[in-house]
Amino acid sequence: MRTSLKWIKALVPGIKDVGPQEYLDTMTLAGQKGEYYVELNKNLEKIVVGKVLSVEKHPDADKLVICQVDVGQEAPVQIVTGAPNVFEGAVVPVVLDGGKVAGGHDGSAPPENGIKIKKGKLRGVESFGMMCSIEELGSSRNFYPEAPEDGIYIFSGRDDIKPGDDAVAALGLDDAVIEYEITSNRVDCFSIIGIAREAAVAFNTGFMPPVVEATGNSEDVNDYVSVEVRDADLCPRFTARMVKNVKIGPSPDWMQRRLAAQGIRPINNIVDITNYVMEEFGQPMHAYDLSTIRGSKIIVRRADDGEKFVTLDGQERDLDSDMLMICDAEGPIGIGGIMGGENSMITGQADTVLFEAANFNGTNVRLSGKRLGMHTDAQAKFEKGLDPNNAEDAINRACQLVEMLGCGEVVGGMVDVYPVKKESWTVPFEPERINKLLGTSLTADEMLDILKRLELTYDEETGLLHIPTFRQDLLATCDIAEEVARFFGYANVPSTLPDSGATAGGLPFDLRVQDLARDVAEFCGYSEAMTFSFESPKVFDMLRLDADDPLRSAITIANPQGEDYSIMRTLPVSGMLTTLARNYNRRNKEAKLYEMAKVYLPKTLPLTEYPDERVMFTLGFYGDGDFFTLKGAVEEFLDKAGIKRKRDYDPNAGKNFLHPGRQANILLGDEILGYLGEVHPDVCDSYDLGTRAYIAVIDMAAVDKYASFDRHFSGIAKYPAVTRDISMVVNKKTLAGSIEHVIEKNGGSILESYELFDIYEGEQIGLGFRSLAYSLTFRSKERTLEDKEVNAAMDKILKGLGELGIALRE
């Protein structure tokens, strides 16, 4: 929404001296946020009205003339110009020596600081200023249609101005245009009157809206035309009035200036009046050439499916049965609330005009406009849901303006189809509750003072506030409280802290474990990444998932931003691989990343209940390191998460996107905590990742079951340890993990720890075999161990290894 500041000031005379910045700031704090303002007189300095007294040829230039111009000073000033349209007696805007204009004559984008005008010589003849074109004054023929295409602006028919007057004011450029962000609940503020009413309250001064008076001759419009509304649900009110003997012509200067400031191009008096009323009252209007309305009858009905209609912009539109049409006796003449038709357009020949001010269902207008792909000014206003009571004032205002402008004979009466009148409603006035909600201590009178200025009326007997119908946002005490707070000033409401009792607060357990995972990942050198939750269904093939892999059952977005963002991910691998590949292709030598993010596993498809949103802790890297580097980070996290039990790594993880010989499920007993591995080279190729990469995925919900922040001190060993080393040659298929199982199982309570300290493969051992060497540490908490105790434990371990077919190396 935008308004001319001058127009607002005309309705709120008390702020006539307020500048645009102060106005914008005050309105913003009162709730009608001013986004910015544009001063129409920016860079216009020392520009006065001048009257050309004489025009002589320049002695040395064919295209220049020398003018003597009366600028209201003792003597006329001499100005040399090349403008073709000057003549003796012309009244023109003149910028004097030392003044400034906004832009060049060609209307190109004006320079930031304007153009300075100084006296000088043109082909040897002195010139003391410049006569201005409308473009040089920062505007255009769009808004000043009377300005010549090429040449200076010439005032015509202006008895109100004389040489020396401020030409900027004479042109109506002494104005600023304010752009507002109006919230969707304030339909009334999409109008000059609505904004001005707010301004009057915000500045605590009087509000003078236009006084709409009854108009019209003794005839009755209802004798000329009839209106039938068949779909009143979509058209709660339809009013129409008529003007005879129309004299189409330009509208007066003051109306053109106001429209121009609103960004509306003046066209002719009738069209300008409808636009003027739309701006002033926020009620879109339509003007029909009555002679084009067949059968003098208007029917408001839903369109038929497949019906076609040409709107006044010449476009053919496809209609459906949820769209509302304005029709005459034979067919459609307009799309209700959106755009009129080509067939009933006002032309210069119109003799009788029918004005329409109707009220349409906002939601329907919005949805229809969306389906038609249209977005007109009228539609933008209707779709917010206008007050039907405003239509009557608006149409009467239009007729009043017709009489004022003398552009036709207004016929008496009004066609008004308004089956269910919207009545004012009440809200109890509860000053104590308002204070309790706001934390203020205002008196009832202070509140009522604000509310009355907003045109609410208070009935002392019933204690009820009567709400004017244009304030459809005021339904309950909380709404009234906001009105009070807005004009009391949000800044004047005190700042306090809630004084209620303490609450426990803090982070829940799962978020604490997540934070711990982040800390460990970062300690291990991994940086945090964030990738999108949606991805392409193509990733399942890129990751070589089996055709029947349940992870292919993903939630599909009905209206995605393209295929790449069309499903919710079921595994976090693709985001990590994409990120690693991006880093790789940007020539980053190494990237170690982690992400804590959800996957979305549907329980049913199509979705009828919440999916399982599982948080996955994903680690990935390329560069320095290998499988075991990643395993180290995983183990570090599980240790720090307080999981004391040893984790098993099962190579049969079955992940097609990982290297078949370098992958493992992370197991805690039978529970799978996650998996890790080297990325399959085919998958690396698919992701354009030209190096070995490693990835681990940990299911945080599984970890949470075993994680703990409890810690217990178990003493520091006082007695000496006994160390025994064993070395064995085993088939390469024998997993170290299975050997360690035997060691743990058979070592007994005195086995303190063990460590793999050597792995050897080579000729001495033979193909398919390897040598593993462990160092075992035994210790008792109660005493110094005796050899025979250690020997007994060792025997048990060796026996267990023997059962696996493993013998110690000599």
């Binding site: 913003t28 704090l29 946020k33 919230t183 969707s184 304030r186 919005r366 917010k384 309790k436 909600l437 934390g439 946002d473 309950a476 909380c478 709404d479 409280a481 906001e482 707070a485 807005r486 949000y490 800044a491 409401v493 005190p494 802290l497 809630p498 004084d499 209620s500 609450t503 426990a504 607060g505 803090g506 982070l507 829940p508 978020l511 982040r518 300690f523 050198g525 991994y526 940086s527 990444a529 964030m530 990738t531 999108f532 949606f534 599909t556 977005i557 009905a558 209206n559 931003q561 919710m568 990120t579 991006r582 880093n583 940007r586 190494e590 170690k592 990343l593 199509p606 979705l607 009828t608």
Partner: protein, 339 residues
């Protein structure tokens, strides 16, 4: 006999004083005080002396022994000190050489910002709660006073899954879940991921994050909302930060406001970051609408509350001066390591 003693003493002192290292000192000790040392031999000859001379001679031997011993000890200490000095001098390093790198990882700026927000609010007794990202229309809209066909549903460009389920466009739905399930009073913040059909550009992303806040109690006021968010702004952006509340409209709060903070780059004078305004819009907030309370079976005549919602990316981008949203989701290590 005393001449012999005197000679041993004089020679020993001279040798000690001339010693330049530990081993020669040790040699001297052995040669004089050792089992076969000179002084030991003299002591052994004590028995050759007449009995009456023995006490005084013995005493003299001990005096000489003590003196030599002491001299040896002090010389030893002196040499040790010199040796340490030489060692230290030799071990001098060039402290300006580059350090041995610790390869600590870096947190994502969004989560650094979130960590700060969580610290501030948990410090004030707020609980951190979470809610579903794939959500029912009811929780995302209807229970928040946004009925079917409300224009706000269009404005937010929702990604739909089915007619009833969608990707949440705001964390505000967590308010409803919390009020439905938690005992009163409530003080919570709900950080989380939200989705809107915006194209990814320098300031928008279809996938982004918000932090919701909610307090419900018998006497919580709009003044409390102001005070709380003022504390928040000062702790997040600095003690000199000032705040401004502007009336606004949200369907689920009434009265509603937007909060601006003084630009933390220029302090309110106006700069590029605040587009010359001196103020930066930070969040939306308001008093929980009584309809919303009612829909959660909370009696609005007994309880009232306030709520607020902050864009996490917005905070991170402003606070860490990140000028392009793309950077937050590209995860280039050269970007991440700056945090």
């Amino acid at each position: 006999m005393n001449e012999v003693l005197e000679k041993i003493r004089a020679e020993a002192i001279a040798r000690i004083d001339a010693a330049r290292d530990m081993s020669s000192l040790n040699d001297i000790r052995v040669a004089i005080l050792g089992k076969k040392g000179e002084l030991t031999s003299v002591m052994k000859s004590l028995r050759d002396l007449p009995p009456e001379e023995r006490p005084s001679f013995g005493k003299n031997v001990n005096i000489v022994r003590d003196e030599i011993s002491q001299r040896l000890d002090s010389m030893k200490a002196e040499l040790a000190k010199k040796a340490r000095e030489v060692q230290l001098a030799n071990e001098t390093i060039d402290v300006t050489l580059p350090p041995k790198k610790m390869t600590y990882g870096h947190r994502h700026p969004n989560n650094i910002a979130l960590g700060e927000v969580e610290r501030i609010f948990t410090g004030m007794g707020y609980e951190v709660v979470e809610g579903p990202e794939v959500e029912f229309d009811y929780y995302n809209f209807e229970a928040l006073n946004i009925p079917a066909n409300h224009p706000a549903k269009d404005e937010q460009d929702t990604f739909y899954i089915t007619k009833d389920m969608l990707l949440r466009t705001q964390t505000s739905g967590v308010q409803v879940h919390t009020m439905e399930h938690q005992p009163l009073p409530i003080r919570m913040i709900a950080p989380g991921r939200v989705f809107r059909a915006d194209e990814l550009d320098a300031t928008h992303s279809p996938n982004f994050h918000q932090v919701e806040g909610l307090v419900v109690d018998r006497n919580v006021t709009f003044a409390d909302l102001k005070g709380t968010l003022e504390v928040f702004a000062k702790k997040l952006f600095g003690e000199d930060t000032r705040v401004k509340f502007r009336p606004h409209h949200f369907p689920f709060t009434e009265p509603s406001a937007e909060m601006d903070v003084t630009c933390f780059k220029c302090g309110g004078k106006g700069c590029r970051m605040c587009k010359g305004e001196g103020w930066i819009e930070i969040l939306g907030c308001g008093m929980v609408h009584p309809h919303v309370l009612e829909m959660c079976s909370i009696d609005p005549n007994e309880y009232q509350g306030f709520a607020f919602g902050v864009g996490l990316e917005r905070i991170a981008m402003l606070k860490y001066e990140i000028d392009d949203m793309h950077l937050l989701y590209e995860n280039d290590v050269r970007f991440l390591k700056q945090f």
